[in-house]
């Protein structure tokens, strides 16, 4: 199972990567902005994508829309610091299937991934 991590903060990217190191996911890439993310999804078609909402170049919702367009089977988990619920709901509307607020603990992250991937 392949994973792409999208977040404009390199610290956050590393954190997610570290938290998921024991989760048996093949991290095929990380992206710091929406445009790169869409390109990677198009090229490598990851099974799972973690996606930040506030990013330069292309915001998370637009990025999500583009991802779902090029790879509708992708399971997208939103990881955001944005507390606005309408944005979160819009993400679900656009096809996101997981949602987490920053900051994320390793337990929260693995639990959310269990749900996203139906693992127990």
């Amino acid at each position: 199972m392949t994973l792409l991590i999208v977040d404009d903060s390199s610290v956050m990217r590393r954190t997610i990567e570290k938290h998921l190191s024991d989760y048996h996911l093949d991290i095929i890439g990380t992206a710091g902005n929406g445009r790169d993310a869409v390109q990677i999804v198009k090229d490598k078609r990851p099974d799972v994508v973690t996606l930040d909402i506030t990013m330069p170049e292309m915001d998370g919702l637009t990025c999500l829309e583009n991802i779902m367009e090029v790879h509708p089977q992708a399971k997208v988990m939103i990881i955001t610091a944005l507390s606005d619920k309408l944005t979160g709901l819009q993400a679900l509307d656009k096809g996101a299937r997981g949602f987490l607020y920053k900051p994320v603990s390793p337990e929260d992250l693995t639990k959310a991934f269990d749900k996203l991937l139906n693992r127990n």
Binding site: K85, L86, L89, L92, R97, G98
Partner: protein, 871 residues
């Protein structure tokens, strides 16, 4: 077919059976009529045979009379006389027999068909008397006589064949033909007897008779052969058995003589007797056949008749039985069906108390049994249903009512949301309280909430509720995005006021077989909790404030603080006293007075580092400045007064805290040692430090000769106020910027020296001196003119001392901006006031660019000052 299906069962049966009955009737009629016809035919045949019997007997008698007549004529009346006479009687008898038959009423119908034939026979028979007459007269030759009689017989025999050819029965017809052939052969035998009698009478046959004889014998044989060929075997047997014996052999022996036709010596009477015997044998056969045919006909007719009658009877009986059975079956069927339908009507009306009883074991009977079973199970299910209903009622009573009670009393709003986002009709009563609405059931939840939420939350809620019913999205993921998890709602009260409530709405999916059947929604009114929290927050802030107060109090010498509070409170009381006394016209004077008072207290507060009070009075000052010189109402001033009262309350609070602390202290130390000038000095030093810090001006503040000097208590506060004001002036007006000071050869920090000394034992001399730039008289004059405190003309006539006095003018300030320290233009007038209060005098010595010095001379009085705090 519709027409047929609408018929009653009874009529349906009729429709089915009627064609069959008609067909059966037709065949019965056919059969019966055929039998009847057969019977009729055979009756006719029987009648025909009866007549034939008479006729053949007549023929037989006429044959004998013919033979006797031929013998009588051949012997010219010498022989055959008595025989002929006897024979004629026999002939007449058979004629009478025939007549009797012909006139028999039973035969009239039958005979009517053969009227002409019988009339012809009767006419022939009527010729017999004339023939007899001519025989008696010997007027005929034997052959003539034979011919006359033969003609009659031939006619009769021909009639017989007509009479008997009336049947369709082939066998019968065949036997009749055989019988007629036999009769014809016998007739030839009769003629042979007559011709033989002639030959034996004359000893020879004449050629005509001889030829006739040969023909007769061969004709006889031919007819017998024809008879034997067609006749029934029993007739043939009877014929062979009967026509045999000596008589037949004698006739054959004498026949041989006649064939030879020479020396015919035999007695003609012997011949006659022999051949008559043979003819009698033939007659015997004839009778046998006639009787047999007759009895066969009778038996056939009888059996046909019997069959006809039986058939008719059976047909009638069967028809009756059939109709009766049909009637019975149909009635039974219709009856049973009626019983069943009446029964099912009763069942339909709910009466299950009875069963239906139908005795027949046909389909209807079976149906009735099934129906009974059905009613039985219906009864059981109804009983079970009743039990279930009871159970359900019990459940309703206990569970539903209980849950209703719960719903009525639960503090939370609870309801179910269906997939169309409709609020369930059953919801907890708290819902109506929370949302201030009745009859919420059935409303679309999103539409219901819309007017109560801010627009952003409205959109979020709509989206959220939609995802609640989306199985693709995990409930725990979704619950993180609940936009109404904690939300402020606005609702219109009945009074029209908009009420704000803080509510918490939580959603929980209700699953049924893997599907989301509905969503349970819980609404919690947290208004009280939130308000409580706010209250707690406010209280906390107040507490914090209080502890700040406490902390600020603790930093200050209790006596200093008490003095401050007491004097401040007194000053504040003077404001309200002044307000009560003042007229509306001198409101501006009131404002000025208030301002001065407040400014002074603020200065004091600042001096003892009581920032809280400083801030509050600064605020009041700001408000007063706004009112200055304006047309103000009493109300506007009242607002100020209100604020002053608030600060007054704060200060009272501080005092009570102070007293409590003092109590504690008192318990710990006998009394506060306050005889020294330390607190006076300390507070001034602290004030100087503070002002230095606030203004950024470095100060070197010091006292001279104070440690040993006991400052009278009454001077302490006013003097402190005066000195504070002077320090403030130094900082605000006297102190030059550091560079300026350094270039003028001065120290960077401004030096302030305060000296206290007793002079002439009656006065206290207080000296205040700084090394600032002194009083800028030009600036003060200019400012005083600008502020309208003095005219230019007056200034022109004033000396330096008089000009210096301008600094004490109310409202003069040279500071370019208003700060805590300066700018109000009140400071020096306050100094003047306080000096007056202490009954002292002052002098000012200012050297421009060098120093500012102010000296006070205060009268000392011999009185013991109480130094302890008054409680």
């Amino acid at each position: 077919m519709n027409l047929f299906s609408n018929l009653a069962i009874r009529d349906k049966f009729v429709v089915i059976v009627l064609p069959l009955l008609l067909a059966a009737g037709y065949f019965v009629f056919q059969e019966v009529s055929s039998n009847y016809r057969t019977s009729q035919e055979l009756n006719a045949l029987f009648n025909g045979i009866q007549v034939t019997e008479r006729l053949s007997r007549l023929v037989h008698e006429i044959q004998k009379e013919r033979g006797n007549s031929s013998g009588f004529l051949s012997n010219a009346g010498a022989a055959f006389g008595p025989e002929l006479e006897a024979q004629r009687k026999l002939t007449d008898e058979s004629i009478a027999d025939l007549d009797a038959l012909l006139t028999d009423t039973d035969y009239q119908e039958f005979l009517s068909q053969y009227k002409t034939v019988l009339t012809d026979i009767r006419e022939d028979v009527d010729k017999i008397p004339s023939i007899r007459e001519r025989v008696n007269q010997l007027d005929l030759s034997p052959n003539q006589a034979i011919d006359l009689y033969t003609e009659i017989n031939t006619n009769i025999l021909n009639s017989i064949s007509t009479l008997t050819s009336t049947t369709d029965n082939k066998e019968m017809t065949e036997q009749q033909i055989a019988f007629i052939n036999f009769l014809k052969s016998k007739e030839r035998a009769g003629i042979e007897r007559a011709i033989g009698s002639q030959g034996f009478s004359n000893g020879q046959l004449n050629p005509e008779s001889y030829a006739r004889f040969l023909e007769l014998v061969s004709a006889q044989d031919a007819y017998v052969d024809a008879f034997l060929g067609t006749a029934d075997q029993k007739y043939v047997n009877y014929f062979n058995k009967t026509v045999t014996g000596s008589d037949v052999e004698e006739v054959n022996r004498m026949r041989e003589q006649l064939f030879a036709n020479a020396d015919l010596s035999e007695d003609p009477l012997y011949w006659f007797a022999q051949i008559t015997a043979k003819i009698n044998l033939l007659k015997k056969v004839e009778d046998f056949i006639a009787n047999d045919i007759k009895s066969t006909a009778i038996s056939i007719a009888d059996s046909a008749n019997r069959i006809f009658v039986q058939f008719l009877a059976i047909s009638i009986v069967l028809s009756i039985v059939d109709l009766y059975l049909l009637y019975f079956i149909v009635s039974n069927l219709v009856n049973n069906i009626n019983i069943l339908s009446a029964f099912s009507r009763r069942v339909a009306q709910g009466d299950l108390s009875k069963t239906v009883s139908i005795r027949s074991k046909d389909e209807v009977g079976q149906f009735a049994n099934t129906f009974n079973e059905m009613v039985g199970s219906l009864k059981i299910s109804r009983e079970e249903l009743a039990k279930e209903k009871e159970k359900a009622e019990y459940m309703y009573e206990t569970i539903y009512k209980q849950s209703e009670v719960v719903f009525e009393n639960v503090q939370q709003g609870i309801f179910l949301l269906d997939e169309n986002f409709k609020i369930s009709n059953l919801y907890s009563a708290a819902m109506e309280d929370i949302f201030q609405r009745k009859d919420i059931g059935g409303e679309n939840f999103v539409q219901f909430m819309r007017p109560r939420l801010v627009p952003r939350d409205q959109d979020a809620l709509e989206m959220f509720v939609k995802h609640l019913f989306n199985t693709d999205i995990d409930e725990s993921v979704l619950s993180q995005l609940n936009p109404v998890e904690s939300v402020q709602i606005f609702s219109n009260e009945d009074s029209g006021n908009i009420q704000t409530r803080y509510i918490q709405i939580t959603f929980s999916r209700v699953m049924n077989e893997g599907e989301i059947s509905s969503v349970m929604v819980t609404v919690l009114d947290q208004t009280e909790a939130v308000l409580m929290q706010q209250h707690i927050k406010e209280t906390e802030e107040k507490n914090k404030h209080e502890s700040e107060q406490l902390l600020s109090i603790l930093k200050i010498e209790p006596v200093v603080l008490k003095d401050f509070i007491d004097s401040s409170k007194k000053s504040l009381v003077s404001i309200s006293e002044r307000y009560e006394k003042s007229q509306k016209s001198d409101i501006q004077a009131l404002i000025t007075f208030t301002f001065n008072t407040v400014h002074n207290i603020k200065g004091n507060a600042s001096l003892i580092d009581l920032q809280l009070i400083v801030d509050k009075f600064h605020e009041i000052e700001e408000s007063l400045v706004d009112l200055k010189g304006k047309n103000v109402s009493v109300n506007d001033f009242l607002k100020i007064l209100y604020k002053i009262n608030e600060v007054d309350a704060v200060m009272s609070n501080m005092k009570s805290m102070l007293l409590r602390i003092a109590n504690v202290y008192e318990q710990m130390t006998d009394e506060l040692d306050d005889n020294s000038n330390n607190k006076f000095i300390d507070s001034l030093k602290r004030g100087a430090r503070r002002m230095s810090k606030d203004s950024g001006t470095e100060l070197n503040f010091r006292f001279e000769n104070v440690e040993d000097f006991n400052l009278p208590e009454r001077f302490k506060l006013p003097l402190k106020d005066v000195l504070i004001q002077l320090i403030r002036n130094t900082v605000a007006h006297g102190a030059e910027p550091s560079e300026e000071r350094l270039s003028a050869g001065k120290t960077k920090e401004v030096n302030i020296k305060v000296g206290l000394e007793e002079v002439d034992g009656q006065h206290l001399k207080v000296t205040y001196k700084d090394d600032g730039k002194g009083i800028d008289l030009d600036q003060i004059t200019k400012q005083a003119i600008e502020n309208g405190l003095i005219t230019e003309e007056k200034v022109a006539n004033m000396d330096t001392k008089e000009l210096t006095q301008l600094i004490f003018k109310d409202g003069l300030s040279t500071a370019s901006e208003v700060t805590h320290l300066s700018g109000r233009g009140q400071g020096m007038s306050l100094v003047q006031d306080l000096t007056d209060k202490m009954k002292g005098k002052y002098t000012i010595t200012s050297q421009k660019g060098e120093s500012f010095e102010m000296t006070f001379l205060l009268p000392l009085e011999n009185q013991q000052e109480k130094t302890a705090i008054e409680i």
